[in-house]
């Protein structure tokens, strides 16, 4: 056998003591296409970031074309011949296609950019990927699919020896996907090597020569695509058993309906979503990234517009209300990313905890009744077991992820919500803090609030929810009662794999 294009040996990586990748070893031959599949959090992105020079591995080594390969920056990996095509594209929308293609190596005549050469070479590249547009077109006027092709043309222009595609099809239309696949097949016939990462298992099986399944940071299967059926892939991805990471649920769904969503639609985001949430119920919302789950939550809370449908909170229509009016009616939402729109990180724990409720502690003249506000904030800090080494004035940015999330949760709990929406409540926090947050959720449900939890971790949803809805491509695809909870069924619905599933398992 000739020399492998890429060889990884025992790659390991930990974040804050949690191993994310362990003993990853594989090699790939030039001209091969490898598929990489795994659940969210299985380590795919980390592995690709190591290949792309964004992260350095803690252990192990890599070889590219027989030479040691240890890139210290994304530039170094690009220079070594690896082109990375991300989920979120990396083009400059305000520049032309040609400028984007040759950004790092403009053809020059002395110090000037050689415009005619730029134009000519851009046309050649665009022809290779089958894009019939002028090189002078601004990237912002292109569709998602066209941009994807421009990215690939860019990789070809840089004479990449290995192209990594991370979820290239999520934002494409069916037609664009077919066009992309035609191009990828052609590149395969030209012996271009590729790593293809996707949740669309059918695509992976069809396109790739070999498939690696990643689970909990380890390679659990490395097989030729022909030898690996889709049900096996899912079983391998899911793998482990549920351990006791969750507190025993004391809450019971009641009779009264807290939230009723009726055919909620927003073009291109969500389509005809209807569900009910009862008092005391913990309802899970499962789905892959990009399935519309976060968007749905933001629509429910009034942060994003909704074109059609009806939304009732405790029987009252709320779809026309602003965020602050919805909060006054008893809605609360812990957002997906606490740094972006959950916290004011430079401010104190006190300021963050009181930011929603301070309005209620304000006299008619606008004065805040500080003493009673502070004492309820301190009580809440204790109730959520906030660990503040320097007291209530400690800046939130100095807290651990778990404590930060408790601040966000405390901020909402102070307002005594009737509906709490939690988007990825335990992302990036340690196991102990997770357990405490689950307990707080259960306690709130016991007090009669309705709770909607979004999570990428199916285990988590199965551990704390009374019922789970599954979302895919902006629609609700499945609903499971607690006795029916089944990881494979949830994953199957989330992947929308019905068409290729063949009805076994």
């Amino acid at each position: 056998m000739n020399q492998p294009l890429l060889r990884l040996r025992d790659i390991g990586k930990s974040f804050f003591g949690n191993p994310v990748l362990q003993n990853i070893s594989f090699e790939m031959q030039a001209g091969q296409t490898i598929g990489l599949v795994g659940e969210n959090g299985a380590g795919k992105s980390t592995l690709m970031n190591i290949l792309g020079g964004v992260l350095a591995p803690d252990s192990g080594d890599m070889e590219l074309f027989g030479n040691t390969y240890c890139p210290d920056s994304p530039r170094a990996s690009a220079r070594a011949g690896i082109a990375f095509i991300h989920q979120e594209l990396n083009l400059f929308p305000n520049l032309s296609v040609a400028e984007n293609l040759f950004l790092s190596h403009f053809p020059k005549k002395l110090a000037w950019i050689n415009r005619s050469e730029l134009h000519k070479r851009s046309q050649e590249l665009l022809a290779r990927v089958g894009l019939d547009i002028s090189p002078g077109t601004k990237v912002q006027s292109l569709s998602a699919g066209q941009r994807q092709l421009v990215e690939i043309a860019k990789a070809l222009g840089e004479e990449a020896r290995l192209i990594i595609l991370d979820e290239p099809t999520t934002s494409l239309t069916d037609h664009e996907v077919r066009k992309l696949f035609r191009l990828l097949r052609e590149l395969q016939s030209q012996q271009v090597s590729m790593i293809y990462i996707s949740h669309a298992l059918g695509d992976v099986k069809e396109l790739c020569d070999r498939i690696l399944v990643l689970r909990d940071g380890q390679v659990v299967a490395d097989k030729m695509a022909a030898d690996l059926q889709i049900p096996d892939m899912i079983r391998l991805m899911v793998g482990r058993q549920l351990d006791r990471l969750f507190p025993e649920s004391k809450s019971q769904p009641g009779e009264s309906i807290v939230l009723e969503a009726n055919r909620i639609s927003q073009p291109g985001v969500v389509h005809e979503i209807s569900f009910q949430l009862r008092a005391g119920e913990v309802l899970g919302l499962a789905g892959l990234m990009g399935s519309g789950r976060t968007e749905l939550a933001r629509i429910l809370f009034g942060l994003e517009p909704m074109a059609e449908g009806e939304l009732r909170l405790l029987g009252e229509p709320v779809q026309r209300l602003s965020v602050s009016q919805r909060i006054n009616k008893g809605m609360a939402m812990l957002t997906e990313s606490r740094r972006v729109d959950g916290l004011c990180t430079q401010d104190s724990a006190l300021a963050n905890l009181t930011m929603v409720v301070a309005k209620k502690f304000t006299s008619r003249l606008g004065w805040i009744r500080r003493r009673s506000l502070h004492s309820s904030a301190s009580q809440m800090a204790e109730a959520v077991r906030l660990n503040l080494a320097e007291g209530m004035n400690q800046a939130v940015c100095t807290l651990s992820g778990g404590n930060q999330q408790k601040v966000v949760l405390g901020k909402w709990l102070l307002n005594k919500p009737k509906l709490l929406i939690l988007d990825e409540p335990t992302r990036g926090i340690d196991v102990g803090a997770k357990f405490e947050i689950y307990a707080l959720i259960d306690q709130l449900a016991c007090e009669g609030a309705g709770i909607l939890v979004i999570s990428s971790e199916i285990d988590e949803l199965m551990g704390i929810c009374d019922r789970i809805l599954v979302m895919s491509q902006g629609e609700l695809k499945d609903e499971l009662q607690s006795r029916e909870f089944n990881r494979e069924r949830i994953l199957k619905s989330a992947l929308h794999a019905d068409a290729i599933w063949e009805g076994d398992v």
Binding site: D341, C344, T345, A351, M355, V356, W367
Partner: protein, 319 residues
């Protein structure tokens, strides 16, 4: 060592210590600095600056900026003088001329500020360009109204606010303390802090960002009008170029005090310290007979230094 330096730089009262040291130095170096007459001069110069800088501090809390403050001072100066002046004033010799003039000044200042606020909060234009345009518009308007002439012959009841340092002092202190209480003790002030720290978080937490921003610019315009009353009375002149060259002093004083240009960190007490230091520099260099240009250069340097400290603090906070 680094930690001690950080402590000092991060404390709000660095400027106060610097002012004190500077005053000691100048008492020795500048003849006539440490006299009662000069102290009165310094306070006289500080008062209007403190008032208008209080408004600016409130705007900076939301990560905004108000470049139109000096133009509002000029416009309201012209409006007030135009009403009360004995030379053909709108209400010349009328017993209620002064109170009406003051009311009109406050109203005009607040309205111009509200206009800024509407463009920024509702139309979502950047504060920098909105207030810069307002500055030009309003300056032009003042010049047009007066045909570039100053208005003299103001009645004693109006000049009272400049001649009587006790009254001026009381006004400035009331404005500054109200500003500080607004920022630290009211729901509006708490909202402004959140808007400046992280507008996205403020929005998801139900804070009405538009309302807060409207209020800050109206307040800033109103503060400029109050400052204008003091200045116009001090100089006994309604002028369309009133305080034209002092814009950087206003923003500089707040930044020297430690209020952040990045928002979320503002304090009127700090600003008062910044006003003190800047006024001391101005006054002492004048006494040392330095030219106008070299004083400008010195102040520019100090403000640049303060902006650098602000950037430094901001970076440390993010670590």
């Amino acid at each position: 060592m680094l930690r001690i330096v950080r402590r000092i730089v991060q404390s709000g009262y660095l400027t106060l210590v610097l002012s004190f040291l500077y005053a000691l130095l100048m008492a020795w170096a500048a003849p006539g600095f440490a006299t009662l007459a000069n102290a009165t001069n310094i306070v006289d110069a500080m008062l209007p600056l403190l008032i208008v800088a209080t408004g600016q501090t409130i705007v900076l809390m939301t990560a905004g900026i108000d470049l139109s403050a000096t133009a509002i001072i000029a416009l309201t100066s012209v409006v007030g003088a135009w009403i009360v002046t004995g030379d053909d004033g709108l209400l010349a010799e009328h017993p209620a001329a002064t109170p009406i003039a003051i009311l009109c000044m406050l109203l005009v200042g607040s309205l111009v500020g509200l206009g800024n606020g509407m463009c920024i909060a509702w139309v979502k234009m950047p504060p920098f360009i909105v207030t810069l345009s307002t500055m030009m518009l309003v300056s032009g308007l003042s010049e047009w109204m007066t045909q570039s002439r100053s208005i003299y012959n103001l009645p004693d009841s109006f000049l009272f606010f400049g001649k009587n340092i006790g009254v001026a002092f009381a006004i400035a202190v009331v404005v500054a303390i109200s500003g500080q209480l607004l920022l630290t003790r009211t729901w509006l002030g708490a909202s402004l802090k959140h808007i400046g720290s992280n507008p996205a978080t403020a929005r998801t937490s139900g804070i009405q960002i538009e309302r807060g921003i409207l209020a800050t610019y109206a307040i800033s315009g109103c503060c400029a009008a109050i400052a204008s009353l003091l200045i116009t009375a001090q100089l006994e002149t309604g002028s369309p170029v009133q305080w034209e060259n002092n814009l950087l002093d206003i923003i500089g004083a707040t930044v020297i005090g430690g209020t952040s240009l990045f928002g979320g960190r503002a304090n009127v007490a700090w600003t008062a310290c910044g006003v003190l230091l800047l006024t001391l520099i101005d006054n002492s260099l004048n006494l040392l007979n330095l030219s106008h240009f070299s004083i400008m250069m010195a102040k520019g340097g100090v403000i640049l230094l303060a902006a650098w400290l602000d950037t430094l603090r901001n970076r440390w906070e993010q670590q």
